[in-house]
Symmetry: C2
Subunit: 292 residues, 2 copies
DNA sequence: AGAACATGATTCCCGAAAGGTATCACTCGA
DNA sequence: TCGAGTGATACCTTTCGGGAATCATGTTCT
């Protein structure tokens, strides 16, 4: 097999049609250049130059080979580019988990920023509930998740990407919608409250429990997804606490009301595996912490 | 810049994910293989493998580079093929000169044989009168000519590719068409004979002169092309001697008659420059002498 | 816990290959 | 016929790649 040095030697001679000048261009002397070309000819099995003591001409085969050689060398030049871009996280794929509700206000702008700042990065989207996203991160099926606590902080790391208040979701014809002040836990005393799965939707479960702590209430349903909760409210099955962005789901028959603030707002986290090897993740994290 | 050996080393390790086995596959020992991969990583500027003392894994960048490396090596494998085919005349271009009349019976089958036996050869056709073809051969504008003598045998070489009888071309209403025997020179005694340019169509000029030698006749026109001759006959401007294939020109108003054989038949030659460097020419010549 | 094993990296040595200098062989032009 | 120009060759030096031995480290089995 021939070597790349032999190819560059050949191309130089083919362009100069003069061994001396070609050698000068390659910063070497003429004899080793002649030998390299001879070796290449032996390796390919074809005479590439017709060399008279007076002039050098490409043979037909040499002309054909010149094209191949140039293509090959061009490919060599650019061979490392993609690898370097991938190494710096500027190219590659990001497997991103998200929940239906997180998507409403956060996913779109996030994807737009990625495609602006890292145009060679492909984002593969996986819609999953939070717990399934955490599993995905731990099993290496996802690189980044837009989800909510809790998660194992030894293995996973995170950053808050959005905060929003919790609010009450009421059927449109519910008496509480008439009140002109933030609702309190006491207002829910007589209500049937739709709440969340303590395991699969632990975050909203906690928030709901905390808000209602000490008041009378009945919890009738425990579901996983905010969307489901809103749909149940619309169906008149009770009232619920949801993140404010649930307004944007546009489910008819549901009215949202401010509540008397019960501690910190709802947080959406970007979560990743502490020792993910994906370089794109580094870049995306840097992008996230950059502004905000 | 990296070397092809480094690429093959990298691909082997990437496929085995084990330096020892990869080294075995490459018929070498493990230490130099490790070094080659390290060098490649330095040359590309990217870490290609994540190597634990227990296992070897491709990095994201390594996976990207693996694709490039495979493409490059595949190209190297096939780089010489085209050059070798060109060298053996199995690929390339043949610039072929021909005359309108030679084309009728000879050119079609010839082109068909070339595209059957040398499918990678492109034939570029140049229709020229014989003398222009000879010039083309001498100036290196043509590789092969389908033409007729004379030519300079020091510089050009040839081979007969077709023989056919000379015959008489008469206006359809001419009295001689009534005769039921081969025509002789004497039959032309009273005729106006259309003949050929002594310089540019020397071959037919010679044949005509030789046939008519010693008889009475009047030569009224001297033209270069057989086709022109036949058109003049059709126009009633006289009679002429033409190769039999001129029948196939399909010019109306012309009748062809056998003549009393005056020596050898009309020959069509394939002519080439003695020191043409085009390898396709070698193959085509071999093809021509192969069967006939 | 400790020993044996597995595996990639490192070190040192040797031989092959590449580059440099001097020279040869040949052609062309004066 | 001689000198200039050009590619090939001979020979030497340097560089580079491969091999054997060894190291460092992590895993596994007793």
């Amino acid at each position: 097999m021939f070597s790349l040095d032999q190819l560059t030697a050949f191309v130089a001679v083919a362009e100069e049609l003069h061994f001396g000048r070609a050698a000068e261009r390659l910063n070497m002397t003429q004899p080793p250049l002649s030998r390299q070309v001879q070796k290449l000819e032996r390796a390919v099995g074809v005479q590439l130059f017709e060399r008279d003591n007076r002039r050098v001409v490409l043979t037909e085969a040499g002309q054909a080979f010149l094209g191949e050689a140039r293509r090959l060398l061009a490919l060599v030049e650019t061979a490392g580019d993609l690898a370097r871009r991938v190494d710096q996280g500027a190219a590659g794929t990001l497997r991103l988990g998200f929940t239906a509700v997180s998507a409403i206000r956060t996913l779109g702008p996030f994807l737009r920023r990625v495609s602006d700042e890292l145009p060679e990065v492909d984002v593969i989207l996986h819609e999953r509930v939070t717990s399934a996203q955490i599993d995905g991160l731990l099993h290496g099926e996802l690189d980044l998740a837009l989800a909510r606590p809790p998660y194992d902080p030894h293995l996973l790391d995170s950053q808050v990407v959005a905060r929003e208040p919790l609010c009450a979701a009421l059927p449109a014809d519910h008496p509480l919608t008439a009140l002109d002040r933030p609702l309190t836990a006491a207002d829910f005393a007589a209500e049937e409250v739709i709440s969340y799965d303590p395991v699969r939707a632990a975050y909203f479960h906690e928030l709901t429990i905390r808000f209602l702590a000490g008041s009378q209430h009945r919890i009738t349903q425990r579901v996983q997804q905010v969307l489901t909760v809103v749909l149940l409210v619309a169906a008149g099955r009770g009232v619920a606490l949801v993140p404010e962005s649930a307004r944007d789901l546009g489910v008819p028959g549901v009215t949202f009301r401010e509540i008397a603030l019960a501690g910190e707002p709802v947080e959406l986290h970007a979560i990743w595996h502490r020792d993910s090897a994906n370089p794109v993740l580094r870049r995306v994290r840097a992008m996230l912490s950059e502004h905000q």
